[in-house]
């Protein structure tokens, strides 16, 4: 499949020496990694390891205490960088605007940036909702949709921006297994369609190993290993091994 000729250039992301604490709690403790243009990079680790905070730093929602994040070599906090590179974040909670309809949510970026006519926006909204399997739901309220559907609306909203960098925060959290598979497929289709650089934060091993070009393992605010899914599976570091091969108990406690 060839890339869309109108597609903007995909971007690299480089995080170096990133530190962040909230009060006395050190959440990120010297994070370093680089994501190549067009790559699907999965950051995996247990709950509370700093994954979501890291993602919020990458898109500029948090200011680091130390270190820097470079988008295509430019600091994310610098003037004009957010305007120059299109970045979209799909929140764990979907974060749809509940006062707007599904269609208004999906078209919000275009409406607020006055880049298209209302008729063009309506056409794009229909197309993007169709792309995530939610055709015809544009007049519904977000509250009428299931968690999985809301997440797909959030993906459609992000797609409208035609982002060069896609960020996903726990895309399969709180979803039943079939819905999680659907979201996996949506992300993969997205990758094939847009070739955008993607960073996915998750603790879902199935998602990570099925989608990732590379996986970073994060524990206690530090990246302890970066490699391909196969390399991660072969790791013998106790925390990684325990996380990857954690199993349900085989017998009920007596």
């Amino acid at each position: 499949m060839s890339a869309n000729p109108n597609q903007l250039e995909n971007v690299s992301v480089e995080v170096s020496g990133l530190r962040k604490s909230f009060g006395k709690l050190q959440v990120l403790n010297g994070i370093n990694f680089k994501v190549n243009p067009g790559e699907i990079f999965v950051i995996m680790g247990p709950s509370g390891s700093g994954k979501s905070v890291l993602l919020r730093h990458i898109i500029g929602l948090e200011t680091p205490d130390a270190g820097q994040i470079l988008i295509q070599g430019e600091p994310v906090g610098a003037n004009g960088v957010r305007d120059k590179y299109r970045m979209a974040l799909v929140f764990q909670s979907a974060a749809l605007l509940t006062s707007l309809s599904v269609g208004e949510n999906v078209g919000l970026y275009l409406t607020e940036h006055f880049s298209k006519t209302p008729a063009e926006i309506a056409t794009i909204v229909v197309a993007k909702l169709e792309a995530v399997g939610l055709a015809g739901l544009q007049d519904r309220s977000p509250g009428e949709l299931s968690g999985g559907m809301q997440k797909r609306v959030a993906i459609a909203r992000a797609l409208v921006m035609e982002p060069q960098l896609f960020l996903f925060d726990e895309p399969t959290a709180e979803l039943d297994p079939p819905m999680a598979v659907t979201i996996d497929e949506e992300i993969l289709k997205l990758k094939n369609r847009t070739h955008a650089t993607s960073i996915i934060v998750t603790h879902d091993r199935t998602l990570a190993f099925s989608l990732a070009d590379r996986v970073a393992m994060i524990f206690d605010g530090q990246i302890v290993f970066v490699g391909t899914p196969e390399e991660v599976k072969r790791q013998t570091e106790p925390r990684i091994h325990e996380f990857i091969y954690a199993k349900m108990p085989t017998s009920k406690p007596s």
């Binding site: 957010r82 970045m87 605007l97 919000l108 970026y109 607020e112």
Partner: protein
């Protein structure tokens, strides 16, 4: 406290800078105007009618007994348009609209909707604060303009119907015309405009700084209303001093 005052001043300055975007945001401004006018008009009528009625009841008999019946209309007219209408309507709007602003923006903050706006490069000041500020700055003076004549009517009604006062409609409005000039009406409208800006910016700021969960939204709403009322009363004193000096 000083940090909050600094944040409020900064937010107000950013809102002023965003004023050229009013035309683009006209749809949202119209929706907010409808919201403020629609929910408040009936309350404004009831409040104005009864405030002026109570003022007439409390002062009318005393003034008439001292032979000052000819100034009752003027006194009620002045007190309504210069003080009661702007202050009471502003307090009403702080309770009804300021609380709604703080709750809505606070909920959007808590449930990451404002973060979502940031990720779409949409400035919350342009999207949320500007339409609300413009709408309240237009709606509150309009409501106060409406409130004064309704109050005058309420005062006249009580003066006519109450046997201890016994001032006719004609005599009431004759006295009112003698005492109240357009400058007095403008005085009240100007005050309400300043109060509107205070309510809008305090409520929007309180919403934007909400952190935590549903309980934090409740706290923000309470703070927005209480702070707005306190600021309205403080501003009222200083504005009255300034306007009395200017009108000399």
């Amino acid at each position: 406290m000083f940090q909050h005052i600094g944040e409020i001043i900064t937010l107000f300055w950013r809102t002023l800078q965003a004023l050229p975007l009013c035309w683009r945001q006209r749809g949202k401004i119209a929706a907010q105007l409808f919201e403020i006018g629609n929910v408040s008009l009936m309350m404004v009528c009831i409040l104005s009618l009864f405030i002026a009625g109570v003022v007439a009841l409390q002062t009318g008999p005393v003034m008439v007994s001292h032979g000052l019946g000819s100034v009752v209309g003027g006194m009620i007219g002045l007190s309504m348009c210069k003080e009661f209408a702007p202050v009471m309507m502003s307090i009403l709007i702080a309770g009804r609209i300021g609380s709604a602003m703080a709750a809505e923006i606070g909920a959007m903050r808590v449930y990451q909707e404002i973060d979502a706006l940031h990720t779409m490069n949409i400035d919350p000041v342009h999207y949320l604060v500007l339409p609300r500020m413009v709408a309240i700055a237009l709606a509150l003076p309009a409501l106060v303009t409406f409130s004064s004549p309704v109050g005058w009517f309420g005062g006249a009604l009580v003066c006519t119907l109450n046997q201890r006062i016994g001032i006719s409609f004609d005599a009431f409005f004759h006295s009112l015309r003698d005492e109240v000039d357009p400058g007095d009406i403008f005085n009240g409208i100007f005050k309400s405009f300043i109060f509107a800006l205070a309510i809008g910016i305090i409520s929007c700021h309180q919403g934007l700084v909400t952190r935590g969960g549903p309980r934090a939204i409740g706290r923000s709403v309470t703070k927005a209303v209480v702070n707005s009322i306190v600021v309205i009363l403080i501003l009222d004193y200083f504005l009255t001093r300034i306007l009395l000096y200017v009108q000399k």
